[in-house]
């Protein structure tokens, strides 16, 4: 979902740049940009449901899932979202929608297969927290910021150049090549930085949603277990005997630089280990 937002943002940037290049004034561009972002926000649930192939299901089709959601919703005084199912073996879940009332919680059939009821509850509570915290709105606003930053960058530079026309056209021509490169570099830098900021916000919202889920269900260990199952980290807890691996000197291997630090900067979700660790801290403080 975040990825599609990022791609959309990129498309806007290209589109707006073209408009700016064609010499459209600042005011029409700002109006067009805000209209597009509003439309994206307004139709976000439909866009996401359509692009993920999720189908909204009724209480009759999935009574158990509906019951799980109704239980959490009733306990925490939240409006019940629509429920959608994605028919794929990959275990996953997401929430979408522009407000608390019009939201959708979607889970994959794979998720329902590998998780038990309490684990599903933990995942749903996580998604419900996203809805309660209006995370979709937060991220849309954040990407709005990056779009505006990009545009201001360009506008400022063009404005500065034309404003400096007092030097005469000759002066501008001499510098225009270098100036163009600087404009490009600064604009790119702005976009990269805001991209990273959006990712950081997103990761923070994930932790917040984990915390919310723990408070709603009172069982952080269930969500931790679900996360491990979903990420395939369950396989990380080995089943091979210590006496078998001891001879292989498994413990002497200095952990190589896996590039995970760089990956962390770009990812929208914090690493599962970190999330599990935080959940277990919550579990420890609850018991």
């Amino acid at each position: 979902m975040i990825l599609s937002f990022a791609i959309l943002t990129l498309l806007y940037l290209i589109f707006l740049s073209v408009l700016a290049y064609l010499g459209l004034g600042a005011v029409p561009i700002i109006i067009i940009a805000s209209a597009m972002i509003l439309a994206q926000f307004y139709f976000s649930d439909r866009i996401v449901l359509w692009s993920s192939g999720a189908k909204v299901v009724s209480r009759e089709q999935y009574p158990q899932l509906h019951e799980i959601i109704e239980r959490i919703v009733a306990r925490n005084n939240l409006p019940k979202p629509r429920v959608a199912i994605i028919d794929t073996n990959m275990p996953n879940a997401f929430a979408t929608g522009r407000g608390r009332k019009s939201s959708v919680v979607a889970v994959t059939t794979g998720l329902l297969q590998i998780l038990d009821t309490e684990e599903v509850e933990g995942v749903i509570a996580h998604e419900l927290t996203h809805i309660r915290n209006r995370d979709a709105l937060v991220l849309t606003l954040a990407s709005l910021f990056s779009t505006v930053a990009w545009y201001l960058m360009q506008f400022g530079f063009y404005g500065g150049l034309y404003g400096g026309g007092g030097y005469g056209y000759g002066g501008r021509d001499r510098n225009s090549g270098g100036a163009m490169i600087i404009i490009l570099l600064v604009a790119m830098l702005t976009w990269v930085v805001s991209f990273l900021i959006i990712r950081a916000i997103s990761r923070y919202r994930e932790f917040a949603a984990d915390r919310g889920s723990a408070q709603m269900t009172g069982k952080p260990v269930k969500l931790a277990n679900a996360l491990l199952k979903i990420s395939g980290s369950m396989r990380r807890i080995p089943t091979k005997d210590l006496r078998q691996v001891e001879g292989l000197n498994a413990f002497f291997i200095v952990p190589a630089l896996t590039g995970s630090t760089i990956a962390n900067l770009f990812s929208t979700h914090p690493p599962v280990e970190k999330r599990v660790q935080k959940l277990m801290e919550m579990e420890a403080s609850m018991s």
């Binding site: 807890i237 089943t239 005997d241 210590l242 078998q244 498994a250 630089l257 280990e273």
Partner: protein
Amino acid sequence: MKFFRRLRRNPSISKTNPDAIFALSSAYITLETKLGLKNTGRSALSLKVVDGMYFEDMKQDVQQFLDASKSEFGMRYRVVKDSYGYLWIIVEAGRMEDNLAGLTAISDTVEEKGFADQLLAVVFEFSITMDKNSIAYLIYNYKRNKFYPFVPAGQKNRDSEQEMKILAAADQELPFEKDMSLWYPLWDLPL
């Protein structure tokens, strides 16, 4: 900075730290009050068998020590060799403190005789009171100087949820292995 710390720390020269094991003398009470894990008073030390006189010598010394402290601590012991070629010294004392004292004395003897590298692990057995006939283990890995939980659930399966609960409950008191991919189990323990 983490990168440089990794470079500097050479795990192959880490020495056994007796304080790490002794942290269990208070942590086991936490496990009992928080999770209902009751220490069964059974624990075991395992080390890789080496063929030769010196190893036999060391084994004799350990057995002499155990025979001598039998009456003092009310401690029973067994020595078993498993199919992987590991020697298990199984100690049964009533109290956790006596268990810890006995086990550290054994590992001291093993280290003095020059077999520190052969030490594999110490295992402490707990019964899960909430779940009848379920057993949990705390494994202390000598190579890492760290504890990790092991809760077997049937044939070569693990109850990872219970394991994570153990980690959460005693994380503050015990030096735990944070890297779950190193939580190697010990199947068919001769305890």
